[in-house]
Structures are given as structure tokens and as C-alpha cells.
């Protein structure tokens, strides 16, 4: 390898500095989720990644919230349906990070499995099956756009105002650690009826989807 080659190589590496972005993201998720294992066994463990009230929680919340808001705004601004799906993926992933921040680990993981892995792929599948071209545009009217924007922004402002004025009483049990076992137990005791109903619903949906996708009608 000549020195020119090294020159080229190192400059390419320099140009690839954006490749470091995944590292940053992974660091972020590391700070977000899970319990830290002590290097020595039997040591003290912390129950959540970022304790409530810590500066770390604030920083992480603002980072993830920005990501959520940016990507959800991007969903409604995108013209291309595949990009919309991509931004939806970003939104779903950041919502799952928010769940981690809310110490709902199981929900966060399920969100990743079901939403990001399943539903989104289904959507993209639908896009690919039904689009002549990803760039095919179904442009709405100007009036429609303005109206929708007005309604949405009014709603947003109103909601915001309500949130700011509301007095949220903090109940004594807040921040209690939750575990998957608790979740499972309450699903099969207090919430057993909705659980069963959800099962029946999924069954119906399965039959319905199979009927819809049937080849010969």
C-alpha cells in the first residue's frame, strides 16, 4: 500500500464521519433503557436508567421528544408515501424510546416488535403492492390543505393551553417500578375480559384478512 493509498484511505474515512451517527444513537438508547449491571455480581442495581428528576432524564426527554415531533411533522409533510412510512418508523421508534423513559420496558419492546417490525412492514408492503410509482401524487386541494392546517393548529394550541392550565395531582403510587410479571398478572386477573375480547378480535381480523386476500372470488 503506497502512501497515496493511505492518503486516500484516511480521507475517505474522514469523509465517512457521518458513519458515527449510529454510535451516537446507540449511546442514547443505552442511556435510555434498562438496568445497569454491576461489574461484580451481587452489587447494587439501579431500577431505571435515568432516575426521575435527574438532569439525564431531562436531556434524554428533550432529545427523544424532538425526534418524535420532527418525525411526526415530517410524516404529514412528506409527499412520497415511502418516505412517509419511513418517518412513521422513526416516530414509532422514538415513541418506544419514550416508553423506555417512562419505565415501560415491556411496552417499548412490544412497540418495536409489533409496530416497527410488523405493522410498518405491512404498510410498506401495501405501498409496494398498490403503487404505480412511489412518486404518484394524490394532491389535495389548496383549500383542503389550509382548512386541515387551521383545524390542526387550533386544536394543538387549545390542547397545549389546557395542559398548561391543568393541575395534575400526583397520586402516591407514582414511579412505582413495574415488571413484566405484574403486567401479566393484571392481564389475567383484572383485565381478563378485555384480554379475551382482544383475542377474539384478532381471530376475527385474521379470518377477515384471509378472506380479503383470497385469490379466487
Amino acid at each position: 500500500m503506497s502512501i497515496d493509498r493511505v492518503n486516500q484511505l484516511s480521507s475517505t474515512c474522514v469523509r465517512r464521519r457521518f458513519a458515527l451517527a449510529p454510535a451516537l444513537l446507540v449511546l442514547g438508547v443505552t442511556l435510555l433503557c434498562g438496568t445497569r449491571a454491576m461489574a461484580s455480581s451481587g452489587g447494587e442495581v439501579v431500577t431505571t436508567a435515568a432516575e426521575p428528576g435527574s438532569l439525564l432524564e431531562v436531556v434524554l426527554f428533550y432529545a427523544v421528544a424532538t425526534m418524535t415531533i420532527v418525525s411526526s411533522v415530517a410524516v404529514c409533510m412528506s409527499k412520497n408515501i415511502v418516505r412517509m412510512a419511513l418517518w412513521l418508523f422513526m416516530t414509532l421508534a422514538s415513541v418506544s424510546f419514550l416508553y423506555f423513559l417512562l419505565a415501560a420496558n415491556f411496552l417499548a419492546s412490544i412497540q418495536l416488535v409489533v409496530y416497527a417490525g410488523g405493522t410498518l412492514v405491512l404498510l410498506v408492503f401495501g405501498v409496494m403492492l398498490t403503487n404505480k410509482s412511489p412518486w404518484a401524487r394524490y394532491t389535495p386541494g389548496k383549500l383542503e390543505l389550509v382548512g386541515a392546517a387551521a383545524v390542526c393548529s387550533v386544536l394543538l394550541v387549545a390542547l397545549w393551553l389546557v395542559f398548561l392550565r391543568a393541575e395534575w395531582s400526583r397520586l402516591p403510587g407514582a414511579f412505582a417500578g413495574t415488571s413484566v410479571a405484574d403486567l401479566g398478572r393484571s392481564l389475567l386477573s383484572v383485565y381478563v375480559v378485555p384480554f379475551e375480547v382482544a383475542g377474539v378480535l384478532l381471530m376475527i381480523v385474521m379470518v377477515g384478512a384471509a378472506h380479503l386476500a383470497r385469490q379466487d372470488k
Binding site: 431531562v58 426527554f61 421528544a65 415531533i69 411526526s72 411533522v73 410524516v75 404529514c76 408515501i81 412517509m84 412510512a85 412513521l88 414509532l92 415513541v95 419514550l98 416508553y99 423513559l101 419505565a103 415501560a104 415491556f106 411496552l107 412490544i110 409489533v114 409496530y115 410488523g118 405493522t119 405491512l122 404498510l123 408492503f125 401495501g126 405501498v127 403492492l129 398498490t130 394524490y138 389535495p140 383542503e144 390543505l145 382548512g147 386541515a148 390542526c152 394543538l156 390542547l159 397545549w160 398548561l164 391543568a166 395534575w168 400526583r170 397520586l171 402516591p172 403510587g173 407514582a174 414511579f175 412505582a176 403486567l183 393484571s186 392481564l187 378485555p194 382482544a198 378480535l201 381480523v205
Partner: protein, 103 residues
């Protein structure tokens, strides 16, 4: 400066409005579906936030969010099936053009 339930509610509200906007401006059926997913997610986020900050140790919010995820998955499966059917019959997924009830 601490993060409270309001912070999460605001994020949820923004998501909700974005979903609403998407639903009302997109004509592509799958685009509308994406908007619906956003709305559902925002409500799930609110529920989990309430659960965390005022849950009193019960898991109502998380369970509701779990059901929302289940519902959203079911709804997406059916809706994509319907979209494909509509496309099969009308060669478009523009919801404004799908005006017949005939399959």
C-alpha cells in the same frame, strides 16, 4: 426543571395533530392509514405517561396502551387488505375515487 406528565402530553398532542392533518390531507388510502397510526400512538403515549405519573401503582395505562397496539396491528392488517382489494378493482388507492360499494 423536571419532566412531568405535561411534557409527554404535549408530545402526544403534536403527534395527534400531525396524524389528524395527515388523515385529512392525504388521499392515498395507505397515507390515511399512516395518519391513523400516528393518532393511535399519541393516545397510547398519553396513557403510559398518565400511568407513570399518576398510576398509583396500577397498570391501567400500560394495559390500555397494550390493547391499542393490538388494535392498531389488527386494523392495519385489515386496512391493507382492503387497500389491495380496492386497488385490484379500481387500479388506484385514491380514496376519493373509491366511491362505489361494489367489490
Amino acid at each position: 426543571m423536571t419532566i412531568g406528565v405535561t411534557h409527554f402530553l404535549v408530545v402526544g398532542a403534536v403527534m395527534f395533530c400531525c396524524g389528524l392533518y395527515t388523515m385529512s390531507t392525504k388521499r392515498n388510502a395507505i397515507g390515511i392509514l399512516i395518519g391513523v397510526e400516528l393518532v393511535l400512538n399519541s393516545s397510547a403515549l398519553n396513557l403510559v405517561a398518565f400511568d407513570r405519573y399518576m398510576g398509583a401503582g396500577r397498570l391501567d395505562g400500560q394495559i390500555m396502551a397494550l390493547f391499542i397496539i393490538v388494535l392498531a396491528a389488527a386494523e392495519a392488517a385489515l386496512a391493507v387488505g382492503i387497500c389491495i382489494n380496492v386497488y385490484r378493482n379500481l387500479a388506484t388507492v385514491d380514496v376519493d375515487k373509491a366511491t362505489q360499494l361494489r367489490g
